[in-house]
């Protein structure tokens, strides 16, 4: 048996330098969501099930609208980081790249669309 590991061979070759940033971004967005998610659950939950006119009136108010827009924006940045780790853990090669690109497009697309929709209702 050969006991040399990838880590052992990597020691002394210097770090990739940028890896900690991915973890820090997840930490930042998680703290943001810690504040936003409870607010979103109870504001969105309060209006879900009401008729169209009431929903529009509710999200014309600045605080519920801001909570919704921020939650959508921050959560999709958090989803992007999380799903990317999932992809990189289980998928290799071109499929990995394609899935990371797809998830990046989906995240920014959904975040942009969601924030735009909330602003459209609010303004």
């Amino acid at each position: 048996m050969n006991f040399m590991t990838d880590r052992k061979r990597a020691v002394g070759n210097g770090s990739a330098k940028s890896g900690t940033m991915a973890h820090w971004r997840m930490t930042l967005s998680s703290v943001g969501l810690l504040i936003l998610i409870p607010l979103f659950i109870f504001t969105f939950g309060a209006i879900l099930g009401h008729p169209y006119a009431e929903v529009v009136a509710y999200y014309s108010r600045p605080v519920p609208a801001a909570i919704a827009a921020l939650t959508i924006a921050v959560s999709f940045m958090h989803f992007l980081g999380g799903v990317q780790v999932l992809i990189e853990d289980y998928v290799k090669g071109l499929t990995r790249k394609a899935l990371v690109v797809a998830m990046t497009c989906l995240s920014y697309g959904a975040a942009g669309l969601g924030v735009f929709a909330v602003l459209r209702i609010a303004l």
Partner: protein, 127 residues
């Protein structure tokens, strides 16, 4: 570098014969809930986009979100978000170097399971 000597080293017991622990199971479920929540969030974005588009589009999206299927997704997601959130708090604490012992980790794991269920019941009753 990574292509050298793969699979010629001693491996830890395989997952299928390895006894599941509270720490590993709570960790797996944090990943599972986090990724599964994408479904609910995309549904919510659709709901907002439909509300911005007009009454007809809103009726379709709102009908879907409030159907038995949408209801089920939102109910499961309510538990998933609370569980994932408490799992995240545990990670933030671990990152600072606290509660890393097995006993404390298992206690925190048990607490997050119980509290996430209680918060789900509270949310369903209150909302």
């Amino acid at each position: 570098m990574a292509d050298v000597n793969r699979g010629n080293r001693p491996l830890s017991p395989h997952l299928t014969i390895y006894r599941p622990q509270l720490t590993s199971m709570t960790s797996i479920f944090v990943r599972l809930t986090g990724n599964a929540l994408l479904v609910a969030m995309l549904m919510i974005v659709w709901w907002f986009v439909a509300a911005a588009a007009g009454p007809d589009a809103f009726a379709t999206a709102d009908g879907f979100v409030r159907s038995w299927f949408g209801d089920l997704v939102l109910f499961l997601s309510t538990w998933a978000i609370w569980y994932h959130m408490f799992g995240g708090i545990r990670h933030l604490i671990w990152d600072q170097g606290y509660m890393l012992g097995v006993k404390k980790s298992e206690t925190a794991g048990l607490i997050m399971i119980i509290v996430s269920v209680l918060m789900t019941i509270f949310t369903v009753v209150a909302v």
